[in-house]
């Protein structure tokens, strides 16, 4: 019996098939990773909760009205000026810090602000309160949040560069890659507690 040779399969159209699939995946693919401004909501206060008394000078008030105009500490302000104003407020360091577990944090020794008596005492006491109207545009709200966060980021970066010669962004990145490194963790924690992000969203005023 003479063995017949098996005819070779024509692979010429293989590329076409592959191209077809490729184009399909090219069209359906979305590369963007989900990212956003992360916020932590405050826990629901119990019914008999009495809010602590906070000195007026430790609150940085930002109001946004329904026409997307901004009122900061009673004066109108452009979005571009907000970051510097927030930085000046946070970094003022005019008095003693918060008393935590009976231990006073003392005056802010890393602040570079004006140390004015009329502005915040210490970064860990400085509260930024954002009050928006129900009719405010979400885009504007995000822009304001972004500027405030930027103020914190810049202050944190400055402190980290001074103390560890590396920016805070880099420090966080390193820590993310090496979660077990106690030294890095300590550094990150220190910067975070030095400039804690205290941005509170006041309940919006309603439009009727």
């Amino acid at each position: 019996m003479a063995r017949r040779e098996t005819p070779e399969i024509n692979a010429g159209s293989m590329a076409d098939i592959a191209f077809l699939l490729l184009i399909f995946f090219l069209v359906t693919t979305t590369m963007d990773v989900d990212s956003g401004i992360s916020k932590k909501l405050s826990e629901k206060p119990p019914k008999d909760y009495v809010p602590p008394v906070i000195k007026e000078k430790n609150i940085f008030e930002v109001n946004i009205n329904r026409n997307n105009e901004m009122l900061v500490e009673g004066e109108t302000m452009k979005l571009g000026e907000l970051k510097e104003a927030a930085k000046a407020f946070i970094d003022n360091g005019g008095g003693e810090g918060k008393v935590e577990n009976g231990v006073s944090t003392g005056p802010c020794d890393y602040c570079k602000g004006a140390r004015s008596a009329a502005s915040s005492d210490h970064p860990n006491k400085a509260i930024i309160s954002v009050q928006s109207d129900r009719g405010t545009e979400y885009g504007m709200y995000i822009k304001v949040q972004n500027e405030l966060l930027k103020a914190y980021t810049e202050l944190r970066n400055r402190l980290a560069l001074e103390k560890y010669n590396v920016s805070f962004d880099q420090l966080e990145e390193d820590f993310k890659n090496d979660k077990t490194n106690e030294k890095l963790k300590e550094k990150v924690e220190f910067i975070r507690t030095s400039y804690p992000q205290i941005i509170s969203d006041a309940e919006p005023t309603s439009v009727n």
Binding site: L22, T29, T30, V33, G36, K40, L41, K78, T136
Partner: protein
Amino acid sequence: MSKFGKKKKEMPAVNTASLPDIVFMLLFFFMVTTTMRETDLKIENPQLPNATEVKKLEHKSLVSTIYVGKAKDKRLGTGDKIQLNDKIATPDDVTAFILNERSQRSEAEVPFMTTSIKADIKSSVGTITDIKLKLRDVGALKLSLSSRKSSEIQE
């Protein structure tokens, strides 16, 4: 100098035998990176705000997404609509939505769950606040306001 009148040499054909290999390589790359949209939007594709201070959302399986924007179906009115899973809902439904999302994960993972709000820049803060209040009531405190990363913000 070369001689004239020499017979032109024929161009050798480019060997295309490795073309499928190249294409397959690309194909696998896109197959791996592709993510298909799992829910179809009942609202208009939200135009996300731009921000510089964004953080990447990690642990994708622990993220529940709430969409806010205008409804595609004009009969539903022109105000802001909230979409949970694949239907338009009211802020009151957010509680049930979060509880349902939680029941699908193990108990140990619940504290790490994040809610991502994908809202259109034109929607109003009031709607977002309604959702936030509901989230706070149910104890889903980790929130991410979805925005696109951009290098500079224009006023």
